[in-house]
Symmetry: C2
Subunit: 180 residues, 2 copies
Amino acid sequence: MDIRTLCLGLLTMGDASGYEIKKTFEEELSHFYEASYGSIYPALTKLTEEGLVSCREMAQEKRPDKKVYSITPMGRLAFMDALSKKPGRDRIRSDFLAILMFADLLPARQLSRLIDDRIDHYRERLAELDDCHASQEETPAHQFVTGYGRAVYQAAIDYLEDNRHVVEGEALLSRASAAG
Amino acid sequence: MDIRTLCLGLLTMGDASGYEIKKTFEEELSHFYEASYGSIYPALTKLTEEGLVSCREMAQEKRPDKKVYSITPMGRLAFMDALSKKPGRDRIRSDFLAILMFADLLPARQLSRLIDDRIDHYRERLAELDDCHASQEETPAHQFVTGYGRAVYQAAIDYLEDNRHVVEGEALLSRASAAG
DNA sequence: GTTATATATATCATTTCGATATATATAACG
DNA sequence: CGTTATATATATCGAAATGATATATATAAC
């Protein structure tokens, strides 16, 4: 499932411009897939050349012209075919965890700051998912994927809070004094 | 934190060849970072040119020659500097979740198979982490990162098991009959 | 004998990122 | 009134990285 195919999939849900597709990536998909203009625009051009989508230019008032893309019947077939393939493995790259592998090289304050920031970050992402849940009517599929994100973020927060003392070391002392 | 920098970091833990670094990526880092030969070998070449690592060729018996890389004092400084930078955001790409967004387009059997496979996949990854835990003496940092992986995989398995009915639909019926 | 696996390095087309350029319009701020 | 920020919209390009493949040697399995 490359970005080209995922753009095709998004167009099964309704017509859109490249800019709107980027917005969708940022808003709905950002928790499990990312794409930049540098991949989206060439993808749409290629899909058009292949006849999997069609494009009409729309003049707009007080806005730049828009190119609105629609999926073609051939495009729908191609996407169904892509969906039937077994998914590629997840690709992840976490600077946070990579840095943590070298925790013993970090000053204690910096390490604590790193973990604090990461917990804040996950809380923000949880809030985004809750907003998403509140604002719009969701399909079961959307609900399911959103819930998945929530579960994983919450697990990460819980783990960081419960186990940060393993790398922070001195937290052991403050815990002991809090308990005693 | 690009692959070049992470290779430098791995060399702070001991000398290694490109092949051995790839092994480390596959074994210890695969849960949160990936890299291919196509990025590792050029990275080592560039680090050598910059004087951040040094390289000595070693003839081996009954094995191809090896190029063993060592980090230089300058390299250690450069890595400490890189560590002090705040981490880039996580980059993830999950075909599995992307496909699930189109669950309503999938035949029921295919969807169930997809989720079964994913649960199996996470169980395997959990087992890998447990092997890792059992086999080698671990630094606190390593323990912490491994535990993080376990927590997240377990949360994913639990979520999939508890909520698959949301997208599978007919599972609602079997649950109702199992309960009644 | 042939197939698979392991050790070891290297290259290359393709994909993708991240930054930047261009253009138009509104809103905010002092 | 000027400046800065934000939003809409498309496009391109160098740099990074993937995934596949090539080359070479050796052992183990079947």
